[in-house]
Subunit: 162 residues, 4 copies
DNA sequence: TTTT
DNA sequence: TTTT
């Protein structure tokens, strides 16, 4: 609820594999995806182009997890906003391990209309059925949620500007 | 509630004057502040240092507006997260004018404890009483709100990592 | 070169019209685009869905301006990173007017490869020919430029992690 | 130099300990810091306030590394902008480990004037001597660098707006 | 109008 | 003026 400091991550990348959704004892959904970003540069010594791909583990909770699990696919390009979280866990030998993930609070699909006019027999056509959403807490039985910046009431007229 | 595209602004700057709070007919608070950011560079021709200050109009609604109106002061350094909104209005001659503002959805005071050891007889000491908050909609009688990134439930233990 | 405070804008939206490129006396290119972001919400009173579209003026300089002018088209979805700048100008009656723009420092095209394997007879296939770039200053005869986050040298091996 | 996708992190937090600077064989500086962000929330079941602190490993290269090593101290509040990078390394038993860090590309000190009028006998008074900077690549012998958004040339007059 |  |  309250934040001290700022912990914000913004990613745009493509899913490297299908999302994985599981359910907590509380019933809340948890979906994990892995998305890639990459950078290329020319090596100063060899003059050769180099490429480096970074993989990001992203986790969604609750309603966002359900949406992500349903609409995201391997290869989908997504915009993700979230926060860094490093989890501690034990490997088989009992020693501590740490994994850093992005806990998503917002997601938007960036691919256009489900594939150039063809196919998509599940009827999903891009932005029509929930391809964007705001997150909520992974707390037990938490509901989805989502307010914020948001529309001006009738007290503030807002027209097309320029 | 739903966003198509991303419209995000992040600012860190100082208030140029005292915040101004007013109330809508609905009872909701609206606070305006103006904050400065600046950049300096060396002019290529003259070799002289140049400075340019940018002023940003920021508007808060509802609960955030009350907090901003109460805790921010002229000179305060703040972190603001919000969205761009261009409002249309008419000047005295009836011609259209446009003003672009940042509708704040999150705010954090960045100054440390209440001001150089002196005064501050209201007992406010920096981070102790609400110096950070999340926004909600300027809709009539909207409540404050605030979900997001958020705490891990007991299903995910999270300790100090390194 | 030096920044006091933070002045950052992140946008993802579609161009409402073709980019407009012009050249400064110095020879530097300047490209303007207008991109839309929108939000929808259910009105509390009427229960009706509402939509509000926000239009953002974005300006590119120099190399980025050339790339934007060449590759962006009406309808293109783009990621933009930049800074807010409010310009003062005089209208025909000589009175002061202000226009707020986003001075782009980074741009990425988000549309996928010109349509699922078909067509695209101009040979442009998405990411292959410059659809992303970093900006530089609008200073006279400024060159393009662009370092930052960046690749790890051989001192830091970086492989695929998970 | 070129980015495919977006990999951006924005942090505001305090250093948990003194920065650690070392030098690569190439002569380039590398500074590591650890900064904390935290969030508090009320537990739904117990009604108790909970707090969770997240620690972020941040690494600076070259010129930024020198500045960070010189000016940042334990407790300093900083704004960091950077990119996520997961490094692979081997522990003593030879098994693979991964560490995720933020490679800083921009840094700003947010603490005000060196301590409320008192002390600071090194003469450092906040923003006067390099408390903000942009990063460059960790490549061998890389120089510092860094342009971007940036000042308008004389072709664009930019005055105080409102 | 801030801040350095 | 875009997009869904």
């Amino acid at each position: 609820m309250a934040q001290r400091g700022v912990n914000k991550v913004i990613l745009v990348g493509n899913l490297g594999q299908e999302p994985e959704t599981r359910y907590l004892p509380s019933g809340g959904a948890v979906t994990n995806i892995s998305i890639a970003t990459s950078e290329t540069w020319k090596d100063k010594n060899s003059g050769q182009m180099q490429e480096r791909t970074e993989w990001h583990r992203v986790v969604f909770f609750n309603r966002l997890a359900e949406i992500a699990g349903e609409y995201l696919k391997k290869g989908t390009k997504v915009y993700i906003e979230g926060a860094l979280r490093t989890r501690k866990w034990q490997d088989q030998s009992g020693s501590d391990r740490y994994t850093t993930e992005i806990v998503a609070s917002e997601m938007q699909m960036l691919d256009s209309r489900g594939g150039a006019g063809g196919g998509s027999d599940d009827g999903f056509s891009g932005y029509d059925q929930m391809p964007e959403a705001r997150g909520s807490a992974p707390a037990p039985a938490a509901s989805s949620s989502a307010p914020s910046p948001s529309p001006a009431g009738s007290d503030f007229e807002d027209d097309i500007p320029f």
